[in-house]
């Protein structure tokens, strides 16, 4: 059995990538399953998805803890998260990265494949959604599935949801990424901060979970904890305002789902501690004063 873990950010389509991979494997006669890890998911938040591929029926219903392959949709994630956590001996990391495999530093040196999936996606789809492109890299790097099966798997999953035209373009993104994937070995030695999570025992857990602002070893919890818990790192795009064009109408302030637009005297500003780079501000700006930059 092959176990695969996908790392992405909410909105990058890690779940559909996992499902497409399962569909591709199914087309080649394998038994396969794919499932998300449902967390407090929001656009831009780090998310996980999982897939298993085997010759016969798969009974394991747990999350994947010891993947044979990890697939990373976001170029910044490997700097923040140890994507090799639990990766088996001889396992491989497949990364969306503009770097060559030997230029990439992770926790340890393992087989690694890279492809600049973001650029492929921008060229093929016109958006930085990398879930289809990265599957082309998977096919090339692992040799487990034929690229034709992966393309068909993408069409199987994407077609009914976003239409056949877009599904076929996503299949093309996978084919393009297949051609541009390089395999090699990454370097090791990157250290990661142990992930901090507040896990109180029953005696410490507030009765009824009624939690005032509380300082814990894992940081602030309870009401107002977002003062410390910055979420700006989820961002791929940064909003830039042209002060010459801005008329300070504050439509962006009104629409920002994260209250990350600051109202200024003359022009608006952005609170990049919380801005997720969703681009709603640029979309609603009546004078096109906001530009999203990578």
């Amino acid at each position: 059995m092959y176990e695969i873990r996908f790392h992405g950010r909410g909105g990058q389509g890690a779940v559909m990538a996992a499902q497409s991979l399962a569909a591709a494997a199914f087309r080649e006669g394998y038994y396969a399953l794919a499932f998300p890890h449902f967390g407090a998911e929001r656009r831009g938040a780090p998310v996980l998805a999982f897939a298993r591929i085997a010759e016969g029926k798969i009974y394991e219903k747990t999350r994947v803890y010891h993947p044979n392959y990890v697939v990373v949709l976001d170029p910044v994630l490997p700097e923040l998260v140890n994507v090799q956590d639990g990766l088996v001996e001889g396992g491989m990391a497949i990364l969306n990265s503009p770097l060559q495999p030997d230029e990439v530093q992770l926790e340890r040196s393992t087989d690694t494949a890279t492809v600049d999936a973001t650029t492929v996606a921008l060229e093929t789809l016109g958006s930085p959604i990398t879930n289809s492109a990265i599957l082309g890299a998977f096919a090339k790097a692992t040799g487990l599935l034929k690229i034709e099966s992966v393309e068909q798997g993408i069409i199987d999953i994407f077609g009914p949801r976003i239409g056949m035209d877009k599904a076929e373009r996503n299949a093309k993104a996978a084919a393009a990424a297949y051609e541009r994937t390089t395999t090699g070995t990454c370097t090791g030695g990157r250290s990661y901060e142990a992930s901090k999570m507040w896990l109180p025992d029953i005696d410490e857990l507030p009765i009824g979970m009624s939690t005032p602002k509380t300082q814990t070893d894992a940081g602030l919890v309870g009401i107002g904890s977002f003062v410390e818990n910055h979420t700006g790192s989820w961002r791929t795009f940064v909003p830039n305002v042209d002060p010459e064009k801005c008329i300070n109408c504050q439509m962006c302030w009104f629409y920002c789902p994260d209250a990350a637009v600051d109202r200024g005297e003359e022009v608006i500003g952005f609170n990049l501690d919380y801005c997720k780079g969703c681009g709603i501000c640029a979309n609603v700006c009546p004078v096109d004063a906001i530009e999203m930059r990578r």
């Binding site: 857990l205 009765i207 009824g208 009624s210 939690t211 005032p212 009401i223 107002g224």
Partner: protein, 391 residues
């Protein structure tokens, strides 16, 4: 001061003398008079409470949860479909450890639509984390409404509590009740001392989205609180008995069980009928007794085991059925008596509000005596008074 009042009045009076800060309610037969009496008390200036008329029971319980989270004493009442509509919010009240007190006038949940007594409203709520007591007369309605606040608000418990009274047989029946004076209740019931108040000056995260990393611990805490409630119930019962001279014996009451050959475990008003039957059968030389099961949550598992070890057969009376299995009290009893070899029987009677007659109870005892003598019951689950079905 003794007066002849209905069960509904006794519940409303109980609320009045416990001085809840908030009563949020919605009327439903046969409970309507409880909240109507309260609205009269408030209107007449006899009761200083914020009385909130809601648009449904779901809203009423939601309002109670919100009010209770701010650290104030909170009361409501409902029945049947109303309780079913509250179902979703019942879990929230217990998980947030909010000691809301609520009389439930037990009434058939449709279908078929009926307004008479059946326990298919409260029994399905047994896993919501609410304490449940079933009462026998109108005095007990009042006394348990008062005790409920003291039990639920105890810091070892901090769980909501239902006081369950039979539709019409109690709710609309008048009988003499000692309406305890306000000063006496004030002496018995301390002010509510909440552990967390959601107030502007003390903000906190309440009722938050919680991933699997937390919910299992919350469930465990609640389970511990429900188990601890047993000792609190016994203590509050003793305190009440000392002050008012009425001893309800806490979790359950035994009646003429000392040398009994067989015991029937009853619930609610059938207990009263059964007491009279026991007296008559004792006179005829039959060694029968009853256990009045008062609390269904928490459940007196150890006490049931101890009692069963003294007899040759035990029966559980139920006023609702879990289809294909048996009555809820029987299911719980069988669980308690795992490993016991005596006959354990289930008697289903009075479903949908059908009268449970003395002859019905006598039949239950006779069947138990026969099972005791033979060492086994002919059948475990017996429907009594069902047309076309031989018991």
């Amino acid at each position: 001061m003794k007066r002849v009042v209905t069960g509904n009045y006794a519940a409303a009076y109980g609320a009045k003398v416990c001085k809840p800060d908030v009563v949020a309610a919605y009327p439903i037969t046969p409970q309507t008079f409880i909240v109507e009496h309260i609205s009269e008390f408030v209107n007449d200036g006899e009761m200083d409470t914020q009385f909130v008329r809601m648009d449904s029971e779901h809203s009423a319980m939601s309002a109670c949860v919100s009010a209770s989270a701010t650290g104030v004493r909170t009361f409501t009442a409902t029945a049947s479909q109303g309780l079913a509509l509250m179902h979703e919010i019942l879990f929230i009240a217990s998980a947030q450890r909010l000691p809301v007190v609520m009389p439930v006038v037990n009434r058939t949940v449709a279908g078929p639509i009926g307004i008479w007594v059946e326990y298919n409203d409260t029994m399905p709520q047994r896993d919501t984390g609410w304490l449940q007591v079933y009462v026998e007369d109108n005095q007990e309605v009042l006394d348990m409404t008062i005790q409920a606040f003291k039990i639920a608000e105890d810091h070892d418990v901090l769980l909501p509590m239902m006081v369950n009274l039979d539709a019409f047989i109690l709710s609309h029946t008048v009988e003499p009740v000692d309406l305890i004076e306000q000063e006496e209740v004030d002496r018995f019931l301390p002010p509510y001392d909440p552990i967390a108040n959601l107030l502007p000056e003390t903000p906190m995260a309440v009722g938050t989205f919680s991933p699997p990393e937390y919910i299992q611990e919350v469930r465990y805490q609640t389970d511990v609180a429900m188990r601890k409630a047993e000792a609190v119930i016994e203590r509050v019962n003793r305190e009440f008995a000392e002050q008012f001279g009425r001893d309800y014996h806490g979790m359950l009451e035994e009646y003429r069980t000392d040398d009994a050959d067989v015991i029937l475990v009853t619930l609610g008003t059938v207990t009263s009928t059964a007491r009279a039957v026991v007296d008559r059968m004792r006179e005829a030389g039959k060694k029968v007794g009853i256990v009045k099961l008062r609390f269904f949550r928490p459940y007196p598992l150890e006490q049931i085991r101890e009692i069963a070890s003294r007899v040759d057969a035990i029966g559980f009376y139920d006023r609702s059925v879990s289809y294909g299995v048996g009555g809820p009290s029987y299911i719980e009893g069988r669980h308690a008596l795992y490993g016991y070899t005596i006959p354990v029987m289930n008697f289903l009677a009075g479903i949908g509000g059908r009268d449970v007659m003395s002859e019905d109870v006598e039949l239950m005892f006779d069947m138990l005596l026969k099972a005791a003598k033979e060492g086994k019951a002919e059948k475990d689950i017996v429907w009594i008074g069902t047309r076309g079905v031989n018991p």
